[in-house]
């Protein structure tokens, strides 16, 4: 699945996007998988209350189910307009 990072989340992880393979079935499980990659990821996901998630361009929660081929994004609360 494709993972996208935006704003300070991208700054902390050090990358804008990546393709990963995982057995994770939910956003929460995916985060558990990602924070194992490095301390940068652990830092990026250290405060989940300050983060938003999306699956295939739709807002999601930690419980949202994910599957192979999905596009998942992690980003701070939005500030458009």
């Amino acid at each position: 699945m494709k993972i996208l990072y935006f704003a300070w989340v991208r700054t902390k992880t050090g990358i804008a996007s990546e393709i990963i393979t995982t057995d994770a079935k939910t956003i929460g499980e995916l985060i558990e998988h990602l924070i194992q990659k490095s301390s940068n990821y652990k830092d990026a996901f250290s405060d989940l209350k300050g983060l938003c998630f999306s699956v295939n361009q739709t807002f999601a929660t930690l419980e949202t189910q994910i599957k192979k081929g999905d596009e998942i994004a992690f980003f701070p609360p939005v500030t458009g307009g």
Partner: protein
């Protein structure tokens, strides 16, 4: 319906002219511009050099189309225009333009408010302030829904 996400400036008068019609008696609009947003004690002491808007293209396009389609139907609009810029902008630059046209004013005024309120809470844009001392700060959403 016109939805544009672009770097370049837009021409407000031209966009308003484009929605004129013999069936339209009201054209309402909202224009968002760049201001010093951050309210931390540290940032307030500094001069804002620029505001950089980052966005998630697919998600923004999908969402703006969704709210435009809803607004057009719900408020019985003739036309809807949403133009949002991204990239590096400077103080007093235009950021976003929303135009709604309808037969009567209540519909177009209500639709503009609906669109900007929802854009500000759910459209995937993020603002990075760069100050004159080259420091940067990501803008946090305000505590209240109106801004």
């Amino acid at each position: 319906m016109k939805i544009k996400i672009q770097r370049q400036p837009f021409d407000i008068a031209r966009e308003i002219d484009a929605v004129r019609s013999e069936y339209v008696g009201a054209i309402s609009s909202f224009l968002g511009t760049v201001r010093h947003v951050s309210t931390t004690e540290d940032s307030l002491q500094k001069s804002l050099k620029s505001l950089t808007l980052e966005h998630y293209p697919l998600m923004v396009d999908k969402y703006l189309r969704k709210i435009a389609i809803f607004a057009k139907s719900e408020f019985k609009l003739d036309k809807v225009v949403i133009i949002h810029r991204f990239g590096e902008l400077f103080v007093k630059d235009d950021i976003v333009l929303i135009i709604c046209s309808s037969a009567h004013r209540k519909a177009s005024l209500g639709a503009v408010e609906y669109i900007i309120d929802n854009l500000k809470t759910d459209a995937a844009f993020w603002k990075l302030e760069t100050f004159s001392d080259s420091s940067t700060e990501w803008v946090c959403p305000p505590p209240t829904k109106t801004d």
